[in-house]
C-alpha cells in the first residue's frame, strides 16, 4: 500500500513537471520577436545619443514594439559589460538613450565604442540583444563671405580619436525648418583631402530677419553614425509676413468686414429701406388725406 502511494506521488510529480515544462515551452514559442535597430547620433558640440527602434511582425505587417525595456551596456575589452542604464520604447517603438559622459575609457584601443542593448525576461517579447560599434567624429562649420556678396559655408569633418580629417565622406547641407529641413543642392558633396567642403549659399532663401540656421550632416555613416553641426547667420532674405489676419478681407470674421462691402451693402440696403419707409409713410398720408 505504502509503495504504491510512493509510485503515484512520483508519477504525479513527473506529469506536473512535464505539463509545466511544456507550458513554459509553449509560452516561449508564443512570444513576439522584436527586430531591433540601433543608430548613433551626435549633434555638435556635445549632444550624443543612441536611438533604438524596435518592431515586430504583427497581423498588419510590421508594428512598433512599444513599452519595451532595454538594458544598455558598454562592451569593453574581453567582452566585459558595464551597464549604462535603461530605456523604454515609446508608442512608435523608439527610444533615445542619451550619453551624458561618453569618454575615452568607454572606447577600445582603436577609439571604437561598442554598445549592446538587450531585452530580458519580457512577458510579451522574446529575449533579444543587438550591438553597435561606432567611432566619434566632429564637424566644425563656419560662414565665409564671398567676393560677389554671397556667403559660403565651410565645414570640416575630423576623426575625434585620431584628430585626422575624414576624407571622401558625403555631407548633406540643409536649412533648419520647423517641420523638415530644407535640403540644399541635389549633388552629394564629399569631403576633400582636408576633410572639408565649401558650398556657396543662395542669398534668396527666406528666414526670420534673414537669419538661417544651416545644418551640415554626415548621414548614417557606417563608422561614425549621424553627426550634425548647426550654424546660424544673417545670410538669407528677411521673411515678409504676408498674413492677412489683421486685415479686412472677404474671409475675415464679421468684425473685419472690408470697408467697400460695408459701404456698398449698407448704402444699398439703407437706400431701399428708406424708400420702403417713404412708401409706408405714403400710406399714412393716404389715410389722413381729405378732399
Amino acid at each position: 500500500m505504502g509503495r504504491s502511494m510512493n509510485i503515484n506521488f512520483v508519477g504525479i510529480l513527473t506529469v506536473a513537471f512535464l505539463i509545466f515544462a511544456m507550458g513554459e515551452g509553449y509560452s516561449q514559442n508564443e512570444k513576439k520577436k522584436a527586430r531591433v535597430t540601433l543608430a548613433f547620433n551626435k549633434i555638435m558640440p556635445k549632444e550624443k545619443y543612441l536611438t533604438i527602434s524596435a518592431k515586430f511582425k504583427g497581423e498588419e505587417g510590421f508594428e512598433p514594439a512599444t513599452d519595451l525595456l532595454f538594458d544598455v551596456y558598454n562592451v569593453l575589452e574581453f567582452d566585459s559589460l558595464v551597464k549604462m542604464g535603461q530605456i523604454t520604447t515609446n508608442a512608435k517603438g523608439e527610444g533615445k538613450f542619451n550619453f551624458e559622459n561618453l569618454m575615452a575609457k568607454n572606447a577600445d584601443s582603436s577609439g571604437t565604442y561598442n554598445f549592446r542593448v538587450a531585452v530580458n525576461d519580457n512577458k510579451e517579447f522574446a529575449d533579444v540583444e543587438k550591438s553597435i560599434a561606432f567611432k566619434e567624429a566632429d564637424i566644425t562649420a563656419e560662414l565665409m563671405p564671398m567676393d560677389d556678396g554671397m556667403n559660403s559655408i565651410k565645414a570640416t569633418l575630423i576623426d575625434k580619436y585620431s584628430n585626422t580629417p575624414i576624407i571622401d565622406q558625403p555631407l548633406q547641407l540643409q536649412v533648419k525648418r520647423l517641420f523638415k529641413p530644407l535640403k540644399l543642392g541635389e549633388d552629394i558633396i564629399t569631403t576633400d583631402s582636408s576633410g572639408t567642403i565649401i558650398v556657396p549659399i543662395d542669398s534668396t532663401i527666406p528666414g526670420i530677419d534673414g537669419n538661417l540656421t544651416l545644418e551640415v550632416v554626415l548621414n548614417e555613416s557606417d563608422v561614425y553614425g549621424t553627426v550634425k553641426a548647426n550654424i546660424t547667420g544673417k545670410i538669407g532674405t528677411p521673411f515678409v509676413n504676408q498674413s492677412t489676419f489683421e486685415e479686412r478681407t472677404m474671409w475675415s470674421p464679421g468684425t473685419k468686414t472690408p470697408i467697400f462691402l460695408l459701404l456698398s451693402f449698407n448704402s444699398v440696403i439703407i437706400g431701399i429701406w428708406a424708400i420702403i419707409l417713404f412708401l409706408i409713410f405714403n400710406l399714412t398720408k393716404i389715410y389722413k388725406s381729405k378732399n
Binding site: 475675415s252 468686414t257 405714403n282
Partner: protein, 436 residues
Amino acid sequence: MKNYDALVEDLAPKKFGKYGKIWIGFLLAIILGALGCYIVQLREGLIITDMRDYALWGIYISNFVFFVAISLVGSLITAILRLSGAKWSTPLTRIAEIIAVAAIIMAGLTIIIDMGRPERLFNLFIHGRLQSPIIWDVVVITTYLVISILLLYYPLLPDFAILAKHFKNAPKLQKWYGRLSLNWYGTIPQQKLKNKSIRILSIMIIPVAFGIHTVTAWLFATTYRPGWDSSNFGPYFIAGAFVAGAGAVITVMYILRRIYHLEDYITSKHFDRMGKLLVLLCLIYLYFNINEYLVPAYKNTVEESAHLKGLFVGHYAALFWLVIVGGLILPIIVLVFPQGRKPLPVFIIGLLVVVGAWWKRYLIVTPTLLHPFLPIQGVPESWHQYFPSVMEWIITFGTLASALLIITLLVRYLPIVPIHETAMEQGVLETDKSSK
C-alpha cells in the same frame, strides 16, 4: 360689357363652398402632419432627415430655392408688364402678387426649417458676416417680402373701399375692409399718392427680385463644387425663376377661373398671351441650360464629368431628362402652336412646368453635393447617396401646403381680379362708387 354693380358682384370675394372647405381641411391635415414631424426634428435634430456629411443641403434647400423662384413672378407680371404698358395683364396682377407673397413667406420659413438649431436664428443677425452670401440672402428676402406685401396692398386700397361698400350686409367684413382701405375716397391726392407709390414699387421690386434670386444663386456659385462653379448662375436662376413663376400663375389662374367662374375677366386671350410669354421664358431658360451643361461637358474635368454623367446617363438620368423634356422642351413645342395655348393645354403645361421646376431645383442641389472636389474619407457608404426621408417629405409637403393655404386664404378675402382697375379699364367706374 357688364355694368359696375355686376362687375363688383362678380369679383368680390366669395365664401368657401363644400369643396373649398374640403380643400382647406386637406391642406390643414398635411400641415398638421408636417408640424408633428417638425416637432420631432426639433427634439431629435436633423438626424431624422437623410442629410449627412455629403448631402448637407437636401430637399429643404431645393424647396427653398423653388419658393424663391416662384416668388419672382410678382415682379414679372406686376412690375415688368405694368411698366411696359401691357394692359392685358391687369386681371393677373393680383394672382401674381398673392403667389409672390405666399412663396416668399414660405421661402423664409423653409430656411428656418433647414436649420438644426432654429432657436439660434437670432445669432445670424448678431454674429453674421457681411461677407457671406447667406447674410445677403436673409436681408434681401426680408426686403423682398415687405416690398411684395406693399405691392399687393397698394392696388387693393380702392378695392377695399369698394368691398366695404359692397358688404353692407356683413358688418364684420365691412368694418375690416373699411379699415384696410385707409379711408380711401378716391380723391385726386390719394390717387396721385397711390399711383406714384405703385410706380416706385414696380421699379424697385425689379432689382430687388433680381437680387433675391441672384444672391440665392450665389449661395451655390460661390461654393467651389462641380455643377455650381459657374459665373452664369445668377442669370440662369433668374431665367428659371421666371419660367417657374409664369407656370405657377397659369396654373392658379386656370383653377381660380374655373372655381369662381371668371371667364369674362380671365379670358382665352390671357391664356394665349401667358402661353406666348411662357414659350419665350422657356426658350431663354433652355439657352441657359445648354450653356450650363455644355461648357463643363466640353472641358470635361474629372469631377464635372462624374457629375454630368450622373445627370445624363447615371443615377439621376431619368429624373433629369423628365425635367428637361417634360418641364422645358415639351412646353416649348406645345405652346408654339395656337391650339396649345388654349386654357386647358396651357394649364396642363403650366402644371408640368411647376412640377418640373421643383425637381429641377432638387437636381441642382443634390447631385452636386454627392461629388465634391475633395471626397470625405471614412464615411459610411450610405452617406454617398441621398434620398429624402419620410419625415423630410412630410415637412416639405407641409411647406407646400402652407403656401397653398396662404394663397387660398388670401383668395378668400381679397378680390382675385383687381376690381377698381378692371372697372376703370372697362370704363364703368363711377368715382363716387369707390368712395364710402
